[in-house]
């Protein structure tokens, strides 16, 4: 094994949404991989339309398919994009086993990437949006208690003080785990709130579903890696599954990904790490593609502790609500937010890339073992 070339790895990782897109397109072109650009009709940045790029590598008849998705949470996509570009640039295509294809969805939520937000252009947390609208929506009563104090638009010292006191009181009364679960779980009640799952399917959701139906329909065995950041120790890559029993592939996921796999719904002690999340992309895919055997993980790369990051995240959201986007304070928050979800350190990016390539390898090996 040769010494990892840190600078070369650093080049996979983009500095902005537009840079990510150019890097992705260039990597595809160099590797002779065709891609489609799907335009988001609602928004643009620096005079350019926003797109989700889709590349399919390998035979359209392949029975085994690995899907790599970046940017479900907008700005978390810089990390995922770097991993996708790295996989292409390092010759991933040439090492594909027989009867196996790879589908890359680059920046599923381009708005969030372009505007350094976790949400979509609809203000929705896309990973809470994959929900069945035909049945009653999950309730988050604790969030309802907190909303007015988390997301107020009034700017006064008095309001701030009242809100902080109310939040502290909640924390004292219900405990920190309940607090974090309330704020990050998912809520479908407050459009202007945090971690809002939406009232209908977003453009990004419909787009992902269309892509999967078009491109994954032939496959019998599908592995999905949905890249995220912000949970876990700095630089550590942790696969997360929502599977909870043998029926939905929990044992298979452990066989593929080993002891580092976090089974949120099967291991009670892990609940406070990731929270009780409804409406996630990976959990919804089995219903979308009922004929395939799906092994889906979110791959979470750690950055900074959530309790330190959350105030920045919340203040950024609040400034968005009051329409303050261009002030120096708002810009500074965006810079902090970017670091929180995408550390600038090349060492972080190096270890992320190495781990990502390892997990991609585990997924491909897992697909080969599928009968």
């Amino acid at each position: 094994m040769t010494s990892p070339d840190v600078m070369k790895i650093a080049e996979f990782f983009p500095s902005s949404y537009l840079d990510a897109r150019s890097k992705f397109r260039a990597a595809c072109e160099r590797a002779g991989i065709e891609y489609q650009s799907i335009t988001n009709p609602r928004t643009e940045v620096e005079g350019q339309v926003l797109t989700t790029e889709v590349a399919r590598i390998g035979s359209s008849e392949a029975k085994k398919l690995l899907v790599l998705i970046s940017g479900v949470h907008g700005l978390e996509g810089f990390c995922g994009s770097g991993c996708q570009v790295g996989w292409i640039a390092q010759g991933g295509r040439d090492q594909l086993p027989d009867d196996t294809a790879v589908l890359i969805i680059h920046f599923a939520n381009p708005y969030g990437g372009a505007f350094l937000s976790r949400t979509t252009e609809e203000g929705v947390d896309l990973n809470r949006n994959f929900i069945d609208w035909g049945v009653p929506l999950p309730r988050n009563d604790n969030y309802a208690k907190l909303h007015a104090d988390l997301c107020y638009s009034e700017t006064s010292a008095q309001k701030e003080k009242q809100a902080e006191t109310a939040i502290e009181n909640f924390q004292r009364e219900y405990g920190m785990p309940a607090y974090f679960e309330a704020i990050s779980g998912a809520q479908y009640e407050f459009e202007d709130g945090l971690f809002f799952g939406g009232h209908q399917s977003t453009w990004s959701r419909k787009n992902i579903e269309r892509i999967l139906l078009e491109q994954a329909g032939q496959a019998k065995h599908i592995a999905i890696i949905d890249f995220h950041t912000g949970v876990g120790p700095y630089g550590y890559g942790m696969p997360v599954t929502f599977a909870q029993s043998a029926n939905d592939g929990l044992a298979r996921a452990f066989k593929w990904y080993g002891p580092s796999l976090l089974a949120v719904n099967a291991q009670a002690e892990n609940k406070d790490l990731v929270g009780d999340v409804s409406g996630s992309l990976i959990e919804s895919v089995p219903q979308l593609l009922p004929d395939a055997e799906i092994t889906a993980i979110a791959l979470e790369f750690g950055t900074y502790p959530f309790e330190n990051s959350f105030p920045v995240f919340r203040e950024d959201h609040r400034l968005g609500l009051v329409g303050e986007r261009h002030s120096p304070a708002a810009k500074k928050l965006k810079e902090e937010l970017l670091e929180i979800f995408y550390p600038a350190s090349n060492d972080w990016r190096e270890i992320v890339w190495l781990r990502a390539s390892q997990v991609i390898g585990q997924a491909l090996a897992g697909l080969q073992s599928a009968q």
Binding site: M1, P233, Y236, M238, G258, P259, W348, I351, Q358, Q362
Partner: protein
């Protein structure tokens, strides 16, 4: 060669690979032979290799096996570091010292402690004035060291331990087991005098580290934290100049031991810092700029690792156990500290390589840019 080949599952192979790599690269080995014999009747030794000049002003020391059974991660990196010719890229006036298996007895017998049942990472205090009084330990001792491996006696012990842990609460429970200087056959015993590994290290430091003016030390451990994650922890006080320097070298994922204590809920952990092996470099080289860090690689959940350790401690106290039982216990102990799986081994290698690179570039920085 696949980096997985640098990993071994027993001390004999581990030493053989290291010596072969060293010989192939043309470096000479300074072996410090331990008077006892290994589990397979083999010679036990700490092998030291210096790459670069003994008078280099900048020196990086990489240590494996402070906790015997944890040896195999760090030792694999040391062997690979030589075979992959990382030494070709050494900066000017910079040397590397590899200290391979500083606790060879523990490595060979697959135990955390040494031949005297001493936790080497509690042994570097001043004896006897530095012995920390841990009154809670006496209460937990009869249960943390199990009287039997299985059966009714063991069940009674487990129930009692569970009850005691519940009564104590987690904080007090951790206080009880973090270290002690009162029970030589017990858990976390720090020893009553400098043990062989301690004396050997003092000699090595004197012989190889006296000339440099800037020294970095990396002591590689396993068994704490998320599977495959490598946390850098420094043996310096949180606000000290050395900690600031280390932060600059290692970046965000560096913690002082006080912070590690907070992260893993180890109360009083900073009290035990003075017993750490890393502190020998700081104490013995008062005129040298020392940046001393451990890398801790996670394996399995804390209680699983603890269970392996406790069984091993039973074995230590029952040397007449039949060979098959002994092998089962040791195999389990090894596995707890050393997942023999490709993903873990790769993660360990990559992270070691990164931290070593950070330390080597850190040594080249002339001033701290705050």
């Amino acid at each position: 060669m696949s980096l997985l080949n640098y990993y071994s599952v027993n001390y004999l192979d581990c030493r053989r690979k290291f010596l072969a790599a060293t010989k192939a690269a043309g470096f000479s080995v300074d072996s410090f032979v331990n008077p006892l014999m290994g589990a397979k009747g083999e010679e036990l030794a700490t092998d030291v290799v210096l790459i670069g000049s003994i008078s280099a002003s900048k020196l990086l020391v990489i240590i494996s096996g402070t906790h015997g059974v944890e040896t195999f991660a760090g030792a694999a990196y040391q062997t690979g570091w030589i075979s992959e010719e990382r030494w070709q890229q050494l900066p000017e006036d910079t040397a590397v010292l590899l200290i391979h298996c500083i606790n060879p007895y523990g490595a060979s017998w697959r135990r955390r402690y040494n031949e005297d049942n001493v936790d080497l990472n509690r042994n570097f205090v001043v004896h006897p004035t530095g012995h920390i009084e841990n009154n809670l330990y006496a209460q937990i001792h009869p249960f943390i060291v199990p009287p039997a491996l299985e059966g009714e006696e063991r069940e009674v012990c487990e129930n009692a331990l569970r009850e005691l842990r519940h009564d104590f609460g987690e904080t007090k429970f951790m206080q009880a087991i973090l270290g002690q200087y009162s029970h030589p056959t017990g858990y976390g015993f720090g020893g009553w005098e400098p043990v062989w590994s301690n004396q050997t290290l003092a000699y090595i430091i004197d012989k190889y580290c006296s000339a440099c003016s800037r020294l970095a030390v990396l002591d590689i451990h396993t068994g704490l934290g998320p599977y495959g994650y490598g946390l850098v922890g420094v043996a310096h006080a949180p606000e000290s100049e050395a900690a600031v320097r280390a932060r600059q070298w290692f970046g965000v994922p560096m913690a002082t031991f006080a912070e590690v204590a907070g992260e893993y809920d180890f109360p009083d952990y900073e009290k035990y810092v003075d017993g750490l092996l890393l502190t020998a470099f700081i104490k013995n080289l008062p005129k040298t700029e020392v940046t001393a860090a451990g890398i801790e690689f996670g394996t399995f959940p804390y209680d699983d690792v603890l269970a392996c350790e406790r069984d091993e401690l039973w074995l230590y106290n029952h040397p007449n156990a039949d060979a098959r039982t002994a092998e089962q216990v040791r195999r389990k102990a090894l596995r707890g500290y050393y997942p023999q799986q490709r993903d873990w081994q790769e993660m360990v290698w990559w992270r070691c390589d990164q931290v070593v690179r950070q330390a080597l570039s850190g040594l080249q920085m002339t001033e701290i840019n705050l």
